[in-house]
Symmetry: D2
Subunit: 355 residues, 4 copies
Amino acid sequence: MMGVEFDFLDKIPVAVLGATGSVGQRFVELLSHHPWFDLTTLAASERSVGKRYKDAVNGNFQFSLPEWVAELTISSCKPPLSENIIFSALDSSIATEVEASFANAGHTVISTAKNYRTASDVPLLIPEINSSHLKLLDVQKFSGGKIIATPNCSAIGLAIALKPLHDRFGIEALQVTTMQAISGAGYPGIPSLEIMDNIIPFIEDEENKLESEPLKILGAIQQDRIIPAEMKISAQCNRVPVTDGHLECVSIKFKKKPSREELIEAWRSFKGDLEGILLPLKPEFPIHYFEDEKMPQPRLQRDLDRGMAVSVGHLRECPIFDYKFALLSHNTVRGGAGGAILCAELLVKKGFIFW
Amino acid sequence: MMGVEFDFLDKIPVAVLGATGSVGQRFVELLSHHPWFDLTTLAASERSVGKRYKDAVNGNFQFSLPEWVAELTISSCKPPLSENIIFSALDSSIATEVEASFANAGHTVISTAKNYRTASDVPLLIPEINSSHLKLLDVQKFSGGKIIATPNCSAIGLAIALKPLHDRFGIEALQVTTMQAISGAGYPGIPSLEIMDNIIPFIEDEENKLESEPLKILGAIQQDRIIPAEMKISAQCNRVPVTDGHLECVSIKFKKKPSREELIEAWRSFKGDLEGILLPLKPEFPIHYFEDEKMPQPRLQRDLDRGMAVSVGHLRECPIFDYKFALLSHNTVRGGAGGAILCAELLVKKGFIFW
Amino acid sequence: MMGVEFDFLDKIPVAVLGATGSVGQRFVELLSHHPWFDLTTLAASERSVGKRYKDAVNGNFQFSLPEWVAELTISSCKPPLSENIIFSALDSSIATEVEASFANAGHTVISTAKNYRTASDVPLLIPEINSSHLKLLDVQKFSGGKIIATPNCSAIGLAIALKPLHDRFGIEALQVTTMQAISGAGYPGIPSLEIMDNIIPFIEDEENKLESEPLKILGAIQQDRIIPAEMKISAQCNRVPVTDGHLECVSIKFKKKPSREELIEAWRSFKGDLEGILLPLKPEFPIHYFEDEKMPQPRLQRDLDRGMAVSVGHLRECPIFDYKFALLSHNTVRGGAGGAILCAELLVKKGFIFW
Amino acid sequence: MMGVEFDFLDKIPVAVLGATGSVGQRFVELLSHHPWFDLTTLAASERSVGKRYKDAVNGNFQFSLPEWVAELTISSCKPPLSENIIFSALDSSIATEVEASFANAGHTVISTAKNYRTASDVPLLIPEINSSHLKLLDVQKFSGGKIIATPNCSAIGLAIALKPLHDRFGIEALQVTTMQAISGAGYPGIPSLEIMDNIIPFIEDEENKLESEPLKILGAIQQDRIIPAEMKISAQCNRVPVTDGHLECVSIKFKKKPSREELIEAWRSFKGDLEGILLPLKPEFPIHYFEDEKMPQPRLQRDLDRGMAVSVGHLRECPIFDYKFALLSHNTVRGGAGGAILCAELLVKKGFIFW
């Protein structure tokens, strides 16, 4: 039973669905040494069931794998499991049904899949930004369980960087061009012959997400529904030869143009909804602003605050809109498994989850 | 004496200033097997003068170097030289004076340096686009010689792609985000530790050029001056881990929004000022439009038409402006030495140069 | 009917089996503008049959594709075809049967697959090195047709570099460590997540080939069989983040240690079996020796002589064996499609093939 | 005053010479959060003296820099400093004099520079391997202070992997080919244009070090001098496009060939001189053996045990020598700053240093 004091006698058992994929591996890596959560079940597709995890990933685990995790036997992605908290990194081709089946069996599913992101009763959660959206859980219709969705990897960093600006100055429109890391395409993902010494100016179905998800994330909750934020977003998404970290170039127009100093102050002073709350994966600062015009850069800042911070820099005036700037976030940590685990930490802390 | 028929008895001797640098090396590579031009003088800074070219570049020549070029002795960058046509790849710290000294000694200087690009009597020349600007040469004040400037490497591709659109539909504004290859930074240029597995969201003084040069390039000539095109450009420039080829993501707003088909037709049918003229480095088509939404890509299209073509693709509607698309051009060929050599070819063909 | 004078009235029609794969694409690229050969049939697996080539490769063609090739309809890999000369880039899982079926239907099959490389009656052909091995064709048992095998991509460059040394000084043993380009793994091949900012010190079944194939290639023909060269080879193979070009570090022990000058002279003066013969893909020099100790390098020399030359350099004494040096060759041109096409050119020139 | 119990009341103050360079930055990064050492002085060349550290590195610090370090003022590299322990990452052009001046002023200098590595009275220290060599400090002639050298970045990993093999089976000879990361060349180091999509088969003065340093490191101490190990090493060194981590392919011949199992057991059971000693940067296991033939790989294992472990794998028989295997170590941590800090930790623990 959770206590506000977090004097857990035992860690909280959790399971990962889709544990062998790229985001699944990042869940495993982050959960294998988590102070609150005990990774007790790894589930994957039928062809992996019964294998040891290390055999199922076949030497292609992207991290150093503790021996006890390597030896875990893969389970089937079928409810019920003994864990209440279920992290889902399922492929979108099956996530709709499987996640619903877990929610209907009473589990709390926190998912990085896109399937429920647009559902009107599912929060698209970034704990620092829109924890009030958890109110949607009251109206979810699953029997006993719940589903919480986390945003697209490129939308998370953008939404966090926009939040304090939208609150203070009102965003009217923005153009964003992304340079997204290869790890965002999963495994095996992009063949090396396609991306080495190259850029691909296209990512399937990505621009659509980046143009729509921030509106829901930054929306206000009224009674039991989200009123999307009113702003126009135009996105251009590129795949670049970088291992981790999505960099985004933004040109932004406000309802009322702030001064450069006001803008920087908005980022620097931003605390968000987690102010005063202690959570293991919570970044010290959600947003780091860099005065150096050469920043942020994927290799230098992606691991800031253990990959959970958003870095912003190179702020200057835009000859067409108001300002231009660059932002960076780690796509498989902040924008993937880490962001989902932070959601679970908040749910536990707030008493939404019992186990 | 040149003949319209180009039944040259002999090739035309040419010189390269700044021959040991990155763009200089590309000049040497392209001129070492040019059908019209005979590369007879390589000039560089004082510390290289008197050395054989291969010793001056010290094994760091980026191409296969013919033996006769490798053995050429480096000259000083001082006029007069026996060649009339002088290609300048000088560093901007010295180009103002040196290029003027050559022009005042009667030489025709074609330069990739930025120094004279904004001078009101110097054409910023892209042969297919604005050959009418050569009229400015009539009012240049150098004694006997002339200076022709070529645009910044990222501005050339953009200006070519914009030309048929501006002529037909009128461009009001555009946002452009570039992903620029490392060869654009010269040699030694970017340290590998800075760019491997990384992106740098900043290029010194680049956005300013990209926001202003197209206005002069696309401007109309009235009497003896250029009336800059009226459009607003906002640029964000990034350095990416790609060897050659600048990729640019454009969002564009027209005075009168064309249909998608009209836009594609404008690119596909574009011939430009060189229609019907045969020049060695002239691309078969200045603009190649790709229907495949994954194109253009640096490694796949940068060498199209021997690096002289501009590739355009991934055209789709923009939720804020009218359309979004991606464009690509080879930064050291089309956007550097190749573009400058094409200028010289045009000058020879049109009878501007005697030798 | 071929003529020694090569005053072909028409080009010779050729087909490519496995045309959609990585080596197959290179065949298509090199044959699409070949002066002797006319690429008339592209064959591939059943799921591609009937599609246009451009649709079958689905935008993943690694080169610029002429429109007439893009529009070719894919045929089935079943004999007979109307072409006599068949280039095979088939996967080894099916090459044994399919290639035999074509040879038994009277075709001349030139294959980059490994399947027939060790067959005692199949020449492992490098035209400059062991054209005498074509005598094996006399004893092949296929009905009407023949099979010629080309060596593994890393064995070809090594065998060429060793040939003049073995002839003059007798090689006793050599250790070779390879750094092999990603294009050697085919398409989709290596996932970018596995090789970016990384090296994989293992290539399936590669060291075995590199330790054995040169013995057959450098072997003497006696009556109707090859007597393998007597030398010991130990290989260590690595996959590196380079697009094209295999670099190999060799430490070599001779029966009689030559001087450094003798060794260099052996490479520099090497002409091989093609001396005096004109073939379209024949390199000007099979071996280029570089005095500069930083050479050869993949990006600088892989395209030498249109990718058909082997580059050798950084020669120095070995504290254990006699000498150490580095060698480089283009793995999909010299070590793949280009090498196979050169075989066909030789067969045509020597009158082995009628069409 | 140090205590065996390490109940330090205060941390031990340390200084870094050459703090702005590549290895210097790694020292700063590792020392900025070290449990025993307090980084109190950063010294660098005269042109940096008086600047804040963050200004001296000018935005090119390769890591996340704590604010208190960023604000430190750069000192001059002149003795005396108030710290006893001095880490030197000085350039070899000045290290001989400057390090001696500090040793003569009573400081304990631990250096990654090559200058004193071959001095007969200077230990070439790897704490796990040859801590007995510290006896040489008794015969050093500096007034009051001492110099300890750490080996070349590619020699450290090799020597650690060889140690248990040489002790048990006696190494007769080995050939090693390295693939070395760009961070090993310092900053600015290798221009990106030279190494992207490329390999350079040459590293200045590196093969010589790799062929000689292990002999001293693995040598026995007799009275006051080192008797070098008797084995022959032949090295071939390559620079590859990898950020961190040197991979080495070894072919090895023993005095008495062990079985594969004996060899693996020798690595797996190796504890070294630090068994039972607790030091902050000591790896849990100095050597990790991987059964998976695709291992070790730079990106997957370089950070094992916080970058201080050596990884070994892909063991198989050699047709010429006895065995072949691959090894990996982090060049700027284990092979640079981390290795040097571990030396200092040992000196403190053993009571060699007072402060």
